[in-house]
């Protein structure tokens, strides 16, 4: 059913810290690996070992340069489905294959119903959906629905693959509908933002902006002084100077 459900109390999603991400692509690779073996059809590639391989990926890391001159910086920018509250990809679907779960807000595709028309990908401003080149059905981030509720894997693994694998802890998973959850607190503390708010999609996933630079006029601590030993006093001063005189 492609009517959007009533807003759920639980809003599972990701918080991505742009201050921390180093663009290592580990989340991209682990996402591909898990989703090739997990929910639905494998995530296929075209010409995987050829000169110009392409394929469906559910998570991609861009890099942007922001700011000007000496103040500019490189920001690595992971992007996957934002599990929007007003998900346009759900309402445009003609078959009911694209749906938002009432219980936790996860946006999923029923691959047995999907006709592969591609309209949902056209309606998504974030480029979160890619048609599987082999299966002819739409693919998207499932928030690893087959991990987070999976009793057959250790409890610490019941997180999305991208979150579990991130070596820098730039990705966090939790309930953004609960104002007291770790992720909600993080968003409140750091001023988490929505991507393209003007599109009216009300994304659940939030991005934490890079922290401000420390002011440049602070005098740096002298490392040379720190490396020098304290000047001895009293008896030790006498020992020191006597030994110096001995050559």
């Amino acid at each position: 059913m492609t009517m959007l459900p009533e807003a759920s109390a639980i809003k599972l999603g990701l918080v991505i810290d742009l201050d921390i991400c180093v663009g290592c692509q580990a989340c991209v690779v682990n996402c591909k690996e898990w989703n090739t073996a997990g929910y639905g059809a494998p995530l296929a590639d075209d010409d995987a070992y050829g000169a110009a391989p392409t394929g469906a990926w559910l998570n991609r890391v861009h890099a942007f340069e922001a700011g000007d001159g000496a103040d500019s910086r490189t920001v690595h920018f992971p992007k996957s489905c934002l599990h929007c509250e007003e998900a346009p990809c759900v309402t445009v679907c003609p078959t009911g294959a694209s749906f938002k779960r009432a219980e936790d807000g996860i946006v999923l595709v029923n691959e047995d119903w999907c006709i592969g028309c591609g309209l949902c990908a056209w309606s998504c401003p974030y480029g979160a959906r890619e048609l599987d080149p082999a299966e002819g059905v739409m693919k998207k981030c499932t928030l690893c629905v087959d991990r987070i509720y999976n009793d057959n894997i250790p409890e610490e693994d019941r997180q999305p693959a991208c979150v579990r694998t991130c070596p820098t802890n730039a990705r966090h998973f939790g309930d953004l509908g609960d104002p007291d959850s770790d992720v909600s607190r993080m968003v409140a503390d750091r001023g988490g933002i929505d991507l393209m708010p003007e599109q009216g999609t009300k994304p659940v996933n939030k991005y934490l902006p890079p922290r401000p630079r420390r002011a440049a006029d602070e005098t740096p601590v002298s490392l040379v002084a720190m490396a020098e030993a304290d000047t001895p006093t009293g008896f030790w001063k006498w020992v020191d100077s006597t030994l110096e005189r001995l050559g």
Binding site: A56, W57, A63, F64, P94, W113, C114, P209
Partner: protein, 304 residues
Amino acid sequence: MRPAWSIIFFTTISGLGLGLAGWIVLGLLPLMTREAVIGVGVITLALIGAGLISSTFHLGHPERAWRALSQWRSSWLSREGVLAVIVMAGLAGWFAAGYTGTIVPMWANLALLVLIYVTVYATSMIYASLKTVARWYHPLTPICYLMFAAAGGLLAVLAMLALLGLPITAALAQAGIVLMLSAWGVKIAWWRLAGMARPAGSIESATGLGDLGTVRPLMPPHTEENYLQHEMGFVVARKHADKLRMIAIGLGGLLPILLLFVAPASTAALALALLAHVAGMFVERWLFFAEAKHVVTLYYEGAA
């Protein structure tokens, strides 16, 4: 946006068939013999149906296309499918009534007419409802589709009148000219107004990094072009857009109008006018897709 041939064919040919059907149920094409009823009925339903069938060719799973009739409550694509099926059934009944000589009540004709134009509107809303493509998300987009259906349909009526050896009144030929001029007038306005439309967002709002200053794409997330770039960032058309627009106007509008002026009673001229119009509409519809840019290109090119 990537112009899929099946979709161009679908919107153009179904639009023409629906426009033709609209004038037929209004009684503009008198069907005196059973042969005429069958011939015109088959042609009209074939135009609408061929477009619909062609639209399934670009699907990943055409065998599941019937499922697209289920979500009419939220999806314009689904509404279009449901309406087209209802209209085709209604038209089949209308032609059957004509064949048996049954008089179709006025309210039924008007209901069919409304359904026909609501179907064309639903086709246009598949695209006009997408907020992600700024130039489609414009109030003039549905007007273009409706006007072209009416103008192309009337041209098809004129061609069929000539084909059936029925008289064409000067008023009808003139109406054809006026409607064709108006349709292209709306389209030129759309090119000027909707064509200038830019997405509300920017690379700064797309990344949320605006507070740091200007934002520029530094590295794409992959080494090869991906599905998104292939689907949303079609570039060939933009290079030759001006020339292609002239070709569309020339074939789709000016040549048919000229032929209507010069030889409004000649079957050959009207058939040529109709063919030229359809060819021009293919170019117009190809540009409609190919020139359109999706807001996701902000992430790849920094502009959309």
